[in-house]
């Protein structure tokens, strides 16, 4: 029963970690596709456009450059807008624009690039399309912090629960402990079996946690595959790296060990012998 309690309790922060890892992966993938939009002035000349394009292509931070003339942009917008709306606008309000993809996620470098671009003659405004990614990142950090906080609380709960179970076990084996003490067993000798029990509880609980997580990922992906065929998406729920599962088991065993050590030590020391 104890290993089930441990297993399910550890599932909660582990599932949170799984969600964070997947959200982090998604945000990184999106970031790699994030663009900077460079809007040119209305009166920019062709030479200036060529100069800007050359500057962009020479810049090592820029992976890809795409120029969209204002005429093409206007035609695209018109095809999206209602005919009545587009016919009410006689002049093309859109500027020429460059859309660039970066090969860095370094915020300092990106900001320096933006500052440099702002200083180039002919460029009217520079917009980083990935601002919302920043917000997503901050949100993820907050979620991570919350998950760790909840995990810490749950670990404390587990320490108390396992400790109480071990304490009750020491009461069950009171006679054996008393006899062992009377015939010369050290407290460490007497404590050892209880600590082994704690470690085994942790190991069993860790295995249950891993099993639940693995089954959950399999189940989710089975559903996502079906959804992918309907909606044309290719989102798959990523499993945690294997080392994370090892960490979960080690953490569970450590919790079992620490809790049983403290509880058994206190119980055995307090046990009165031959009263």
């Amino acid at each position: 029963m104890m290993i089930i309690v441990i297993g399910i309790t550890l599932c909660l922060p582990s599932a949170g970690l799984l969600l964070i890892e997947n959200a982090g992966q998604i945000s990184q993938n999106i970031e790699h596709e994030a663009e900077i939009s460079i809007f040119l002035g209305k009166t920019v000349s062709k030479d200036q456009i060529d100069f800007i394009e050359l500057s962009l292509e020479k810049n090592s931070l820029i992976k890809k450059t795409h120029f969209e003339p204002k005429l093409i942009a206007w035609e695209k917008l018109q095809s999206k807008l209602d005919v009545a709306v587009s016919s009410s606008v006689s002049n093309n309000p859109l500027p020429d624009a460059f859309f660039i993809s970066l090969n860095t996620l370094d915020e300092i470098k990106i900001q320096k690039l933006i500052d440099n671009l702002d200083g180039i003659d002919g460029i009217d405004s520079v917009t980083v399309d990935g601002n919302w990614i920043k917000k997503l990142r901050i949100g993820l950090s907050l979620v991570k912090l919350s998950v760790f906080f909840i995990a810490a609380l749950l670990i404390i709960v587990l320490l108390v629960v396992i400790g109480n179970t071990i304490r009750l076990q020491t009461l069950t084996y009171k006679d054996e402990i008393e006899v062992s003490k009377l015939i010369g067993a050290t407290n460490a000798f007497i404590q050892r079996p209880f600590m082994y029990t704690g470690i085994l509880y942790g190991l069993g609980g860790g295995i249950i946690t891993i099993s639940i997580l693995k089954l959950s990922v399999l189940g989710l992906n089975a559903t996502l595959i079906k959804l992918a065929s309907i909606f044309g998406t290719n989102i798959i729920f990523q499993d945690l790296p294997h080392r994370f599962y090892l960490y979960i088991v080690i953490l569970a065993m450590l919790i079992g060990l620490i809790s049983s050590y403290i509880s058994a030590r206190n119980s055995i020391q307090r046990l009165k012998i031959y009263k």
């Binding site: 006679d175 006899v179 062992s180 003490k181 009377l182 015939i183 010369g184 050290t186 012998i273 031959y274």
Partner: protein, 225 residues
């Protein structure tokens, strides 16, 4: 071997159980601690085996002062004693062999040596044929013999028995006492708390406790048969 000097013992909120005890127990002696209930016999034995510490005075066991013994040294000290209790304190979820083997497990003895010693101890108390039986299936006298086997398996220099025959019929009681006498004959110091003195012809020392004091410290006494 064991010396008490002005030893007093009291518990918080209670009157003194032992008052100003001075005694000496030499190696190889057979000592009976007698007295009415509440006289302090069990307390005296607990002081010798470091289950309790004296409130004042000093207890010296082979040049080790038990009054100031450190907690980590107590288990090592207790391994030098063989203790037998009025209620046996056997482990009823283990068989006879496992009960007797417990002190040797604590000493990390190898299985082959353990096997040999346990069987020798069981043989000494005439329980070798019952090594695989559970203690609950034994008679009162047999259970006490099993407790003695556990006490002697690690070959202690001192046996301490707290009213070992209190719950036994006369027939079993004599049997148990004879076992103790046989150990004392080979040089083991035997200290027994009891209400009754032996009726057989043997040499022993008697410590008579009344009201927490030794009223009568008699030297070697030889009773007529």
């Amino acid at each position: 071997m064991i010396t008490f000097e002005k030893v007093c013992k009291s518990y918080p909120g209670s009157p003194e159980i032992l008052q100003n005890i001075n005694l000496e127990i030499l190696s190889g002696e057979l000592v009976f601690v007698t007295g009415p209930s509440g006289a302090g016999k069990t307390t005296l034995l607990k002081l010798i085996s470091a289950i309790e510490k004296p409130s004042s005075g000093s207890i010296v066991f082979e040049s080790q002062n038990l009054s100031h013994i450190k907690d980590r040294e107590i288990p090592i000290l207790r391994r030098r004693f063989g203790m037998i209790f009025q209620d046996h304190k056997l482990l009823y979820d283990r068989n006879c062999f496992a009960n007797v083997a417990l002190p040797l497990e604590i000493n990390n003895m190898s299985f082959s040596d353990m096997n040999r010693r346990v069987r020798a101890a069981l043989d000494k108390v005439d329980l070798l044929k019952k090594e695989k039986m559970m203690p609950i299936t034994l008679s009162g006298g047999e259970q006490q013999r099993l407790a003695i086997a556990r006490a002697i398996v690690s070959r202690p220099s001192i046996l301490i028995a707290d009213e070992p025959t209190a719950n036994l019929d006369k027939e079993y009681a004599e049997e148990i006492m004879n076992i103790f006498y046989s150990f004392q004959q080979v040089g083991v110091t035997v200290i027994i708390s009891t209400h009754e003195l032996p009726s057989t012809k043997i040499n022993f020392k008697r410590l008579q406790l009344i009201g927490g004091s030794i009223q009568n410290l008699i030297g070697h006494v030889q009773l007529p048969s």
